[in-house]
């Protein structure tokens, strides 16, 4: 089934194919975005058990909304908009837990626990590159949530400022400002590694 599909089919085309009953199109679409979306969620959600749950909810929403899907924007923007909304719901429902996590993170040693990307890290075997990776993740984690989200949407979703603004529901200037601040702070944090 996938053989009949051109390898460079756009996300929108794959989604329309899936809408018309091509289950293989969804497989291709899912393979394209599963890692980036999962990482986008993992960088913002600090509870490991919730990451997979939110990730699954996002794709279930995509499946359920497939019959009504129409190409009004890029599929990637739509996908990360759903993820953003899910995360917002999660943040609102777990405000106290998130606050406590922030307090813990501000403590000292618990930071690495809260950052999913660092869970596979082995501090004793870190090389220079590993130390640089840990530093950027630490700096990313230190960003305010809106700025971090803007930066992750830019990097994991490959979005432009306009798409970030659309996905997060803010103005173009606000999105650009968030991204500018995020990059400035990251650069400041990583000065020693450059």
């Amino acid at each position: 089934m996938n053989d009949a599909r051109p390898p460079d089919s756009s996300d929108e085309d794959l989604m329309l194919r899936y809408q018309s009953g091509d289950a293989g199109a969804f497989d291709t679409l899912y393979a394209r975005h599963r890692v980036g979306l999962h990482r986008f969620i993992a960088r913002q959600c600090r509870v490991n058990e919730r990451i997979d749950e939110i990730f699954q909810d996002v794709w279930m929403n995509v499946i359920a909304a497939a019959p009504r899907y129409s190409v009004q924007a890029q599929f990637r923007t739509w996908l990360f908009t759903i993820a953003h909304n899910k995360l917002m719901d999660y943040f609102r429902a777990n405000a106290k837990a998130e606050a406590r996590l922030y307090e813990v993170k501000d403590g000292e040693d618990e930071v690495e626990i809260a950052v999913p990307g660092a869970r596979t890290e082995e501090p004793d075997v870190q090389t220079e590159s590993n130390r640089a990776r840990a530093a950027i993740l630490k700096a990313l984690d230190a960003l305010p949530a809106p700025q971090r989200e803007a930066f992750l949407l830019s990097e994991e979703g490959g979005m432009t400022v306009a798409e970030i603004a659309e996905a997060t529901g803010v103005s173009h200037e606000a999105a650009k400002s968030r991204l500018r601040y995020a990059i400035a702070k990251l650069r400041e944090q990583l000065r020693d590694y450059q």
């Binding site: 009953g21 289950a23 990482r39 279930m60 019959p67 990097e155 991204l179 500018r180 450059q194």
Partner: protein, 365 residues
């Protein structure tokens, strides 16, 4: 010398640098667990395998086509049913109205029938004997105009069985050697034949059954071999109630009977010689008239054979009253009264007659 950097240039440069740093910082990310991948893919396949889900169409939109088809079918069936009903009633009216118009023109018809017709272009080869009317109708198509044919078709709807038998005998037959006598002579001849029991002297048209009396109106002038079709006609006619009426008419003409009642068809024998209407209607298949009397269109013969009886007039009057057609009611009542002056109306029709007279008098005032 390099151009001074704008804030946007700085932003784009820093963004590229941080993007590269973040890309280097990405560890080989496993992503979601394989079990979740399978679950999500299975859910996607289930959603597709369930078929296209209804796009939120309300029930009346989904049922609009079947309901439309059902409505069209019901409407068509109703229209066809009503059309069939109206067609049957229309046929009844068509069969009745010409009769009414004929009744209204009855005096003229009587005069026309009794008056000697203009010289008809009888074929020179025709025998001197008189041809039967039915045969004349069959063998002389140029005389039957379109109007007559239409009238014949209309009258065929209400034609008595005897007339159908006549029409079935439409094969051309050689002119029979028969002679038609006037009514009184026919009656005398019938009596003579009844008195004569000798088979040798029996008429050519003797009925096959001994119980049935022979047809009195036809007298064989000579042994006629080729007159078999005519004989069959007469035999068929003799076995019918109208043939009996013919016989009784002959007797009535001789014995001065005033009226004869035969199976619901009353024939006023006293008026028969003058009008020739009911007489001809009853004796149409067997009556013989002079060839000069055959000049009128054969449709007239058919018209006279469907004359209404008092019972039919009663039914017609009731139908007019039921349908509130008071003008037709009055006309039919007048004709009935004129036709049968001594007949009594049933109670309901008498009541309607009084009401109509009262209404007419009030309208006249």
């Amino acid at each position: 010398m390099s151009a001074p950097q704008t804030p946007d240039d700085t932003f784009e440069r820093d963004r590229a640098a941080m993007s590269a740093a973040y890309a280097n910082a990405r560890e080989p990310y496993a992503g979601p667990p394989p079990a979740m991948d399978d679950a999500i893919r299975a859910a996607a396949r289930r959603a597709v395998g369930a078929g296209p889900r209804p796009a939120g169409k309300p029930w009346f939109l989904r049922w609009s086509k079947p309901l439309s088809v059902a409505a069209v079918v019901m409407l068509t069936a109703s229209v066809i049913f009503v059309a069939i009903e109206e067609d049957s009633s229309l046929k009844m009216n068509v069969a009745q109205r010409p009769m009414e118009s004929r009744i209204a023109q009855e005096p003229q018809d009587k005069r026309a029938d009794l008056a000697p017709p203009p010289a008809s272009p009888a074929p020179a080869a025709a025998p001197a004997a008189i041809e039967p009317q039915v045969r004349s109708f069959v063998q002389d198509p140029p005389r039957a105009t379109k109007k007559d044919a239409a009238a014949a078709r209309e009258n065929a709807v209400a034609a008595p069985p005897l007339m159908v038998a006549e029409q079935k005998q439409s094969a051309p037959v050689p002119p029979p050697e028969v002679r038609i006598e006037p009514a009184r002579e026919r009656a005398a001849a019938a009596d003579a034949r009844l008195a004569n029991t000798s088979p040798a002297a029996a008429p050519v048209y003797a009925p096959p059954a001994p119980a049935a009396p022979p047809a009195p109106a036809i007298v064989a002038a000579a042994p006629v071999a080729p007159a078999v079709p005519v004989k069959e006609q007469v035999v068929a006619a003799a076995s019918s109630p109208r043939a009996e009426a013919e016989l009784k008419l002959g007797a009535a003409a001789k014995g001065k009977l005033e009226s004869v009642e035969v199976t619901g068809t009353r024939v006023d024998a006293a008026r028969a010689p003058e009008s020739g209407f009911a007489d001809k209607a009853a004796a149409a298949p067997v009556q013989r008239a002079p060839s000069s009397a055959l000049a009128p269109a054969p449709a007239a013969v058919l018209k006279k054979s469907v004359e209404a009886s008092p019972a039919e007039y009663h039914a017609r009057l009731r139908e007019h009253a039921r349908q509130q057609r008071w003008k037709e009611f009055d006309v039919a009542l007048t004709e009935f009264t004129r036709k049968w002056p001594q007949a009594e109306l049933p109670a309901d029709l008498a009541q309607l007659k009084r009401e109509r007279e009262k209404a007419r008098s009030e309208t006249g005032k």
